[in-house]
């Protein structure tokens, strides 16, 4: 899958989970840039992304991503 396609699908999950149509993600987006993206909703996002891409992240991965780009790299590696 193209990395732009992964980003697009992740973006859709963010919109759905955070219930906010206005979210536009880029590879550089961090938690600080997105309203309501906190440690709690992060868990929800991770679970939704795992379900969507049918994969599992490790404990370290989910706490070490610095931005959306790193998250998408992990997804792409596991696809």
């Amino acid at each position: 899958m193209e990395s732009s396609e992964i980003l697009k699908q992740v973006n859709k999950i963010f919109i759905d989970v955070l219930d906010n149509e206005t979210i536009v993600l880029s590879n550089e987006t961090t938690a600080n840039d997105v309203e309501d993206w906190d440690s709690l909703t992060h868990i929800q996002l991770v679970v939704a992304i795992e379900k969507h891409f049918q994969m599992h992240f490790t404990s370290s991965e989910i706490r070490n991503w610095k931005n959306i780009g790193e998250m998408c790299v992990t997804i792409s590696k596991r696809l």
Binding site: D16, D19, S39, V47, T58
Partner: protein, 581 residues
């Protein structure tokens, strides 16, 4: 069953709760509970409840409960949820010496008891305590069953002792997390990496079920329970169609897929045993429909298990309304089971508030599906509940009879009512005292008496006491009414207490009671009887009681002159009067 997922519950949080009733709830836990709290709050929206939740800081259970000035007490919740989790329990257990391990369960229970006592000293609240989901600690293997030093043994002992504790402490309720895990499995309810990262214990998909289980308990404590199960017959209670297939071909027991129906019937029978009313609502000829209950050797349910049996060709919504009238309970306390989606929708549309489970297509799945809904949560069980079916059967017979009579008099006559009148004595004292303490509606002055008070009153020469029992051709109501009259200096009688159970309303029982009082008063030479109504929030039913009985109003009291009293009309025979008043 289809529970809303966590995402849906969370979206509910943004909705308008303002028209819902508020329930104040405190959550105390030794793991992170933010998402559990969100789930409860969001699930409340589905139930039209506005949960106002105090979420204690993480791991503050003892701190909040033992300090009488804590935020918890300041918040003053109606419900306190205590959730110790298995992971933390194991952490405590793991560090102990072997000697300490043997006493682990006991110490935990003592701690719970202590917390409960502190809570009940400082708050008027119900306590909901999670039990522990079992985990495989993998230290002793299966041998853990054979030794009290194992975590498994101590955890199961705690769960068992919690049950016993809650039987003694009436405001303590157990949330059976272990049962929920049994349904979903350990792997499904936990998410290790989330727990490791955040101390949130449950997987997101499990949270709605925990929230439902929590609110199930709260609703049942608030009295919002299901009291009646209404059952269709063909392809719901047995396989096949009795009218077409005949009694020998319906599937029940060993025939065809009969086992699925037998198990469903056994479940219904156990519900009946614990006080849930069973009713039948079926499109059938009544005699044909009743035949399996009377004659089929493999039927688990029999006619005596059914309070109201309705089989005809009317539409089911009307029949259910008829059942509701006989039972006189709310539609929101009824569950209707039917295999036919058309009937289900029809009933759902026309009978507001009734619960109609969307039964799976395959009867093999019926029972498991119903179990997962936990429809019949309850907050109490007494042996009186067992008697309920019989009482409602009697009520149903009376209702059927009433339909046949065009006027009330003929109906009342046909009941062959007989009343036993006695002064208070050693045998009826406990029931008399109980009535003075419990009756709220038909109670003119609402004065509460203890058993000792009643004994004293019975012996007082200036008081006249009357207890009334009633039975009719369908059954015995027991002691249902009582009166205490004080003899006054001016040779009149003052009615200190007049109480009647609402079960015997509309039977002219009050007329019978008044006739009895008047006859007694005249015999002693009294000229008047004085009554008084003291209003409470609950006794407006008898506001006009004395007026209706022909008393005239006289400065805040009601007065009945006895010299030209006409006996009131009633159709109750006096059974026996061996009392010397």
């Amino acid at each position: 069953m289809n529970l809303p997922d966590f995402q849906t519950l969370k979206k509910n949080l943004k909705k308008d709760f303002s028209s819902f009733s508020k329930v104040k709830l405190a959550v105390l836990a030794d793991s992170a509970t933010q998402m559990y709290v969100q789930a409860i709050k969001g699930y409340g929206y589905e139930l039209n409840l506005d949960f106002d939740i105090f979420e204690a800081e993480y791991d503050q259970i003892e701190r909040q409960i033992l300090d009488p000035t804590s935020d918890l007490y300041n918040f003053n919740p109606e419900f306190v949820i205590i959730f110790y989790c298995t992971n933390k329990l194991l952490k405590k257990f793991g560090r102990l010496s072997l000697e300490e391990k043997v006493e682990f369960a006991q110490h935990h229970i003592e701690n719970c008891q202590n917390l409960y006592q502190n809570l009940s000293l400082n708050l008027k609240c119900k306590v909901i305590c999670f039990n522990f989901n079992e985990i495989d600690e993998s230290v002793f293997g299966n041998f853990s069953n054979k030794t009290p030093y194992s975590f498994n043994y101590q955890l199961r002992k705690i769960n068992y002792d919690l049950m016993n504790l809650s039987q003694n402490l009436k405001n303590l309720f157990i949330l059976d997390l272990n049962i929920l895990q049994g349904r979903k499995g350990y792997e499904a309810i936990t998410e290790n990496k989330i727990y490791i990262n955040t101390d949130l214990l449950f997987s997101i998909d499990f949270l709605p079920l925990v929230a439902k289980s929590t609110t199930d308990i709260i609703l049942s404590i608030q009295g919002k329970i299901k009291k009646c199960l209404i059952l269709d017959l063909d392809n719901t209670l047995w396989g096949g169609i009795i009218g077409d297939d005949g009694i020998e071909n319906i599937q029940i027991g060993e025939l065809g897929i009969g086992k699925a129906f037998s198990e469903l019937q056994l479940w219904a029978k156990q519900l009946k045993q614990r006080g849930v009313i069973l009713a039948i609502c079926s499109k059938n000829d009544e005699t044909v429909a009743k035949e399996p209950f009377e004659k089929h050797p493999e039927m688990v349910l029999r006619l005596e298990d059914i309070s109201v049996f309705v089989a005809n060709w009317n539409n089911k919504a009307n029949n259910i309304k008829h059942i509701q009238q006989i039972l006189n309970i709310g539609f929101d306390s009824m569950v209707f089971l039917d295999d036919n989606p058309f009937e289900r929708n029809m009933v759902r549309t026309h009978v507001k508030d009734i619960m109609v489970p969307e039964l799976p297509e395959d009867p093999a799945d019926y029972l498991n599906y119903l179990r997962t809904m936990n429809l019949f949560e309850t907050a109490s069980f007494t042996h009186e509940d067992e008697q309920r079916t019989k009482q409602y059967q009697e009520e149903a017979k009376r209702a059927i009879l009433q339909q046949q009579f065009t006027n009330e008099t003929d109906f009342l006559k046909s009941l062959n009512m007989v009343s036993l009148v006695e002064p208070f004595n050693a045998f009826n004292t406990p029931r008399v005292a109980q009535l003075t303490q419990r009756s709220n509606q038909f109670n003119l002055r609402t004065i509460r008496y203890t058993e000792e008070d009643i004994q004293r009153i019975a012996l007082d020469p200036d008081k006249a006491t009357f207890s009334f029992s009633l039975k009719d051709k369908y059954g015995d109501y027991g002691l249902i009414s009582l009166v205490i009259m004080n003899k006054m200096a001016d040779n009149s009688f003052f009615i200190d207490t007049w109480i009647m159970s609402c079960r015997v309303l509309k039977r002219n029982m009050e007329n019978f009671v008044l006739n009895t009082l008047v006859n007694f008063a005249i015999e002693t030479g009294a000229k008047t009887i004085i009554g008084e109504f003291i209003p409470t929030p609950k006794n407006s039913m008898v506001q006009e009681h004395y007026k209706n009985l022909g008393f005239s109003s006289a400065d805040n009291h009601w007065q009945l002159l006895l010299n030209n009293y006409n006996q009131k009309k009633c159709h109750i025979q006096i059974e026996n009067n061996n009392g010397k008043f």
